[in-house]
């Protein structure tokens, strides 16, 4: 009996290990290449562990593109988007989950319909709007829309608000608390995990976004990491060690963020698939 259990455990481990290696290899190759001296990059058979390890590829890559500036540009957009999204989406989610009013269902349908809408349909007129406002070349087109909510985050927060007991609001209302008070002083503090999830997804979405910066940022001084890195490919196409170093540096914050917030992540994702 015990032997049999051990065999089945082994049998489930084998595919996991094989797939684990497949998923890990690209990351390994990324880091390995980023640390190789130029002579080892094109060598066949390949060098798995670089020798000597050339750390200087990293400072070299960051010297070629203004890494600090791009990181700051990206970070600034991310932070504003996180603030804008959590604030606006929680407000709207409150009205959908906690208030009974006539147009509520229509607002909810507009959210669902928006999720199915390809971004390409709104891309050109939106570009024209921002051009008309004179915002092309500034990060504003990437920041301002987040203050008007997005369907996915509103939906997620609505789902969470609906799980909080209605008695909380009723009791507060008896004590003369306004809707703003219920939202700001009762629901928001209780919703930290859901807000953190929305904040995280927003941060990662902005950090990774490519099409937005490509459309709106035409001044090199305002480039984000995504855009800067893509330009780097065009200019230094064959400098693979530096390209890999730059890619590693851009990925690292996301990996670190993920490791520190795994629980929030997993809870949030479980909520994504939640129906209703």
């Amino acid at each position: 009996m015990r032997n049999r259990r051990r065999t089945t455990e082994l049998l489930t481990h084998i595919p996991l290990i094989v797939l684990g290696v497949c998923f890990a290899l690209p990351f390994f190759w990324l880091i390995s290449t980023s640390l190789k001296p130029d002579a080892e990059i094109f060598r066949i058979p390949p060098v798995w562990i670089p020798h000597p390890i050339r750390w200087s590829n990293y400072p070299r890559a960051m010297h070629y593109i203004p890494f600090a500036l791009y990181t700051w540009n990206t970070l600034r957009i991310c932070l504003f988007c996180v603030i804008g999204t959590t604030l606006s989406c929680s407000l709207v989610a409150y009205s959908l989950a906690r208030l009974k009013w006539r147009w509520r269902n229509w607002i909810f349908y507009s959210l669902l319909a928006t999720m199915l809408l390809p971004g390409q349909v709104t891309m050109i007129p939106t570009f024209i709007i921002f051009k008309w406002l004179g915002w092309i070349g500034t990060p504003l087109p990437l920041i301002i829309p987040s203050f008007f909510g997005n369907a996915f985050s509103i939906f997620l927060l609505r789902q969470f608000f609906m799980t909080l007991p209605q008695e909380l609001s009723d009791a507060a209302r008896m004590d003369g608390c306004s809707d703003w008070g219920i939202y700001w002083r009762i629901l928001m503090p209780l919703s930290k995990p859901a807000l953190a999830t929305v904040g995280l997804f927003t941060f990662i979405g902005s950090w990774n976004d490519f099409l937005g910066p490509l459309l709106y940022l035409n001044d090199e001084r305002t480039y984000t990491l995504s855009l800067g890195l893509q330009m780097f490919v065009g200019q230094h196409g064959a400098e693979w060690a530096m390209l890999m170093a730059a890619s590693t540096v851009m990925t690292l914050p996301i990996v670190i963020l993920f490791f520190f917030t795994q629980k929030t992540f997993i809870q949030g994702i479980a909520m994504t698939g939640m129906k209703g």
């Binding site: 147009w103 007129p125 939106t126 990774n208 996301i254 994504t272 129906k275």
Partner: protein, 297 residues
């Protein structure tokens, strides 16, 4: 806040929803209508649009060869990429939904590629898919493949290469499946065992029906994602070789922001809108037959 709450309930609701109401009007509703109007205009974003009737649509259908090519490229990704993607993410989730040691580690490993910045992963995969010294062909030749494919340099292999790369990020769908799998009550499996069901029958008659709402969710999300497939192609191949990776969204972007034919690009956007809608509708309609909602008769 006013105390005559019942009368003002309507206004409070509107007030709280105001960000979305404004955002929807400015960034969704107006752009949808404007792009419909532009699609019947000749428009370069500098001079005012002027009405040309159906000309953009007619020219797309009859004169723009790349239009059909890009549409078929995108459909290729949906027909081959989407099912592979769905199956892989479900497969990974089933593997993780077992009580063995080290699951958290595997889960992290499988999930990380899907949150890796697209630009970084695209650059990495350009290197991995390099025909001469890329990781994949090194591994293939080590396993005795004499003439490994040229991947992104070969029109026949470029799309499979991109699909392979997208499978690396199947972890995004996986975690959603995993959450659903963990919600399937054990009692159902026990009951099935008592009825003499084997592993395959349990999968077919317990697991699949129970997680079918989440499958529907992933099908829709995946469908929308592949219809808008853009960034990887823009960075890695810019549509080549021989337009084999010139996807619909990429061609649309180039017509709009390279050729400044905003009218034709808007027509393309509306065609995409209608095709996406139609595909989603078909999925939703047929889903009545295969999606099972617990608690519903």
């Amino acid at each position: 806040m006013p105390s005559h709450r019942r009368n003002s309930a309507e206004w409070v609701g509107i007030l709280f929803s105001l960000p979305w109401i404004i955002g929807f009007a400015v960034f969704i509703a107006y752009p949808i209508l404007a792009s419909l109007y532009f699609s019947f205009c000749s428009y370069d974003a500098i001079r005012p649009p002027h009405w040309v009737g159906w000309r953009n649509y007619v020219e797309l259908f009859t004169q723009d060869d790349v239009f059909w090519k890009s549409l078929s490229n995108t459909l290729y990704m949906i027909v081959f990429g989407l099912p592979l993607m769905l199956a892989s993410s479900l497969g990974l989730a089933m593997l993780l939904n077992q009580k063995v040691k080290g699951i958290a580690l595997y889960r992290t490993l499988f999930y990380l590629p899907s949150i890796t910045p697209v630009v970084a992963s695209s650059i990495l995969w350009m290197w991995i898919l390099n025909p001469d010294i890329g990781l994949i062909n090194i591994v293939l030749s080590r396993f005795g493949v004499a003439h490994p494919p040229g991947w992104l340099t070969d029109p026949a292999w470029a799309k499979p290469a991109l699909i392979l790369m997208s499978l690396w990020s199947a972890g995004g769908g996986m975690v959603i499946y995993l959450a659903a799998l963990q919600d399937v009550p054990d009692t159902l499996y026990e009951a099935a065992s008592l009825d003499g069901a084997g592993a395959w029958h349990k999968f077919l008659h317990v697991t699949l029906p129970m997680i079918s709402p989440v499958i529907l969710f992933n099908v829709i999300i995946g469908l929308i994602g592949f219809f808008q497939y853009f960034t990887q192609a823009y960075i890695m191949t810019n549509g080549g070789p021989e337009d084999s990776t010139n996807f619909y969204a990429l061609h649309l972007f180039n017509r709009a922001f390279l050729d400044f034919q905003m009218g034709a690009a808007s027509a393309m956007a509306w065609i995409l809108f209608l095709v996406t809608l139609l595909a989603a509708l078909v999925v939703f309609k047929t889903s009545a037959r295969w999606v099972y909602y617990a608690g519903e008769k």
